[in-house]
């Protein structure tokens, strides 16, 4: 019985990995072409925009907050960046877009800190409110019209490379994701600032009384979340070559789904960006698998919600 118990424990500790393996097996049976190199590349490609937004969300959640404004940031920074290409050139526009993301994140942090909304629940409503502001600003900025890359006069090959370029069979966006993820992982576990973010996320009062500058850490967390969301937005519009002012809708839900399914705790302080990668993978494989099975998109949304709730339930049990 010892072996059985050991397997049981392995499954419990690596629930995400086990689920991923099951999904791979099911998909491979349904679609024999699934396990080809070409399809692996496609799968990596699907990491795309969501993976960057989810990285930012991971930082926010580890830092003790849930950043609901990412949807607004994605929309606004997408239309802004695209419109800047003709003004600043493509490198300038890329930089301006990322800066815009940072600025929007900083606005989040500023409002959160100045309202003294240092609990997760209070900050949740603030970022939700700001998401509406950012989304509406995107509509105001474009008059509600979708912008097209093909209408631009300046070169856009940089964006094309980010959105859909490949090195061998590996998409450029996936490579960028892996590099950023590795850097963030190093940042969180091996730097003082990263550790301070984790400590503050788990108990902001204790962290503050121990002399950690928690407000500055909050500012950093939201700023990084903003930059990463903006980068996700850039990958997204570069890939589909248009930017609608409603582009970011629902991104917060999917990002939270990926982060929590990966196993980062909603109570803050504990988690990792590598877990989030697994979470994103699981979300992608799940929808892939459900598509192959011919499940309708409506039902898929229901299932995604169910998976999120199960993940939160597991997280709560783990906390106890």
């Amino acid at each position: 019985m010892d072996a059985g118990k050991r397997i049981g424990n392995f499954v419990k500790d690596n629930l995400v990995l086990v689920t991923i393996m099951i999904l791979v097996l099911v998909t491979a049976v349904l679609e024999p072409k699934f396990l080809t190199i070409a399809n692996m590349g496609n799968l990596m490609n699907q990491f795309g925009p969501l993976s960057f937004v989810a990285l930012g969300m991971t930082l926010a959640i580890i830092g003790g907050f849930i950043d609901l404004s990412v949807a607004g940031i994605v929309s606004l920074s997408a239309v802004f960046t695209l419109s800047m290409i003709d003004v600043l050139g493509q490198f300038g526009a890329l930089l301006a877009g990322l800066l815009a993301g940072a600025l929007l994140g900083l606005i989040n942090a500023g409002v959160v800190v100045s309202c003294g909304a240092l609990t997760q629940a209070k900050a949740l409503f603030i970022t939700y409110g700001l998401s509406a502001v950012f989304s509406a600003s995107a509509l105001l900025y474009t008059d509600g019209a979708t912008q097209h890359m093909s209408h631009l006069e300046n070169r856009t090959d940089l964006f094309q490379a980010i959105g859909s370029g490949r090195m061998g069979f590996v998409p450029v966006s996936f490579l960028l994701f892996v590099v950023i993820m590795a850097l963030l992982h190093l940042f969180l576990i091996r730097t003082q600032t990263g550790r301070e973010i984790c400590l503050g996320g788990a108990n902001i009062t204790a962290a503050q009384l121990a002399g950690i500058p928690v407000k500055r850490r909050i500012a950093l967390v939201f700023t990084l979340s903003g930059v990463l969301s903006a980068f996700g937005a850039i990958v997204l519009f570069s890939r589909i070559t248009t930017a609608s002012p409603l582009l970011g809708a629902n991104y917060e839900t999917n990002a939270i789904l990926a982060v929590v399914v990966g196993g980062t705790s909603l109570s803050g302080g504990r988690g990792s960006v590598i877990r989030t990668m697994l979470g994103v993978m699981l979300v992608i494989l799940l929808s892939n698998c459900l598509n192959l099975l011919g499940v309708s998109t409506y039902l898929q949304s229901v299932l995604k919600g169910a998976v999120l709730i199960i993940a939160i339930w597991i997280d709560r049990r783990r906390v106890k």
């Binding site: 550790r195 788990a202 108990n203 962290a207 009384l209 121990a210 002399g211 950690i212």
Partner: protein, 493 residues
Amino acid sequence: MGRELSDRILSVEHVSKSFPGVKALDDVSLEVGRGVVHGIVGENGAGKSTLMKILSGVYTKDSGTVEFDGQRVERTTPMESLRRGLSIIYQEFSLISSMTVGENIFLGRFREAGGMKGTHQKAGELLGQIGSSISTHKLVSELSTSEKQMVEIAKALSFESKLIIMDEPSSSLTEEELAKLGALIRQMREKGISILYISHKLDEIFEYCDVVTIMRDGHVIDTRPVSELDRGEMVGMMVGRTIENEYPERPRAVGEPLMRVEHLTTGKLKDISFTLNRGEILGFVGLVGAGRTEIVRAIYGADKVKRKEVRIEGKSLKITSPRDGKRCGMALVPEDRKQQGLVLPFSVESNISMANLEKVKRGIFLSPDKERKMAEENIDSLLIKTPSPTAAIVNLSGGNQQKCIIARWLETEPKIFIMDEPTRGIDVGAKYEIYMLMKKAVEAGSSIILISSELPEVLHMSNRVLTIADGRITGEFDPEKVSAQEIMNRAIG
């Protein structure tokens, strides 16, 4: 068996309970008589709360039998236990602060109580019985700690409880409120209600209890009438060795003035000025809510102030955040260990290193080796009992958790150590070790501001005592020359 009324309300026989890696209760037997106040004492981790949670139905026992009021109890739930007549009043109250007193007392039983009108009427009667005049329409969030306790007791009475378990009921009561509690306990005993009184404070055990059970490491060591025991014996059984003194000899290392605080004024504090000397333990005595904690928090930079001048070694300093306070050589062991001191999900080592991350860096990165080494050194020198430096701090006992917080600050080599209720909820043995740490710290040249609701502790440890009442300093005493009575009089204001 039968259902004849025995003189025992509760009998626990051979009960064991294990958690992964720990045997929390090992063959525990215990009998509580009707109308008896039965004390349970033991250090943290002795198994008191596990036993209580088994009785109330929060945990299920692994083996053994529990008989309550003549009936075998197998699996039960907290609500079932309540209905059977067993109430528990936890240290952290289980009241809902956004609801009224009356609603809390009859929570979930409004229909039985006869609607809202009946609820408030009956709740009022119950409170009247125990001599309380709290309005049943008041919100629980507006109550003081002792009033909340009253409400808990009224709630227990509303179930016609035959046995009430009180877990550390006095931990945040003032002397006066404590006297009220004592009267209440006697009153309940006269009605034939049994009470299981769990406490660290031996004075209370001697004052209120008829019988006492001493537990250690999951075992019952002995059960005896209180009258047959003296204090030293009881402490000896609790810690498994004899402790001659509860306090070490008073440190005498007072030197020249170190810090001068002047005109400290906030919404609550009124023009506080005092001096702290090098190597001194300065005690703050006052009732809960008198402003003791507010003074130290304001000095440390944790709270906003209207006016404040702080000079350390003659230098005027601007301290507007805990970070500033730390930089100026201060350290704060906060009053609420779990909420303000510890990062519970984290390991022992990261709780120790968290105020010293600069010290465990190699280049720009944190060095796990250095961090481990810092933790191990402190675990050794402070005798912290933990399975390993990587163990989650939540699993340590209160005393060991507190030592980790002290270790965290010792590493910063503070000039001024602020300790707010450093021994709250900590058992006797660990208390002594914390006193020794304080002594060592001042002998090494630090100064300590000590806040404690346990008057004997302040009086035994301090070189000088300030009394604080209603946001003001009302007196300054030498605890060796002045009686406790006199000091307390001044603290009441």
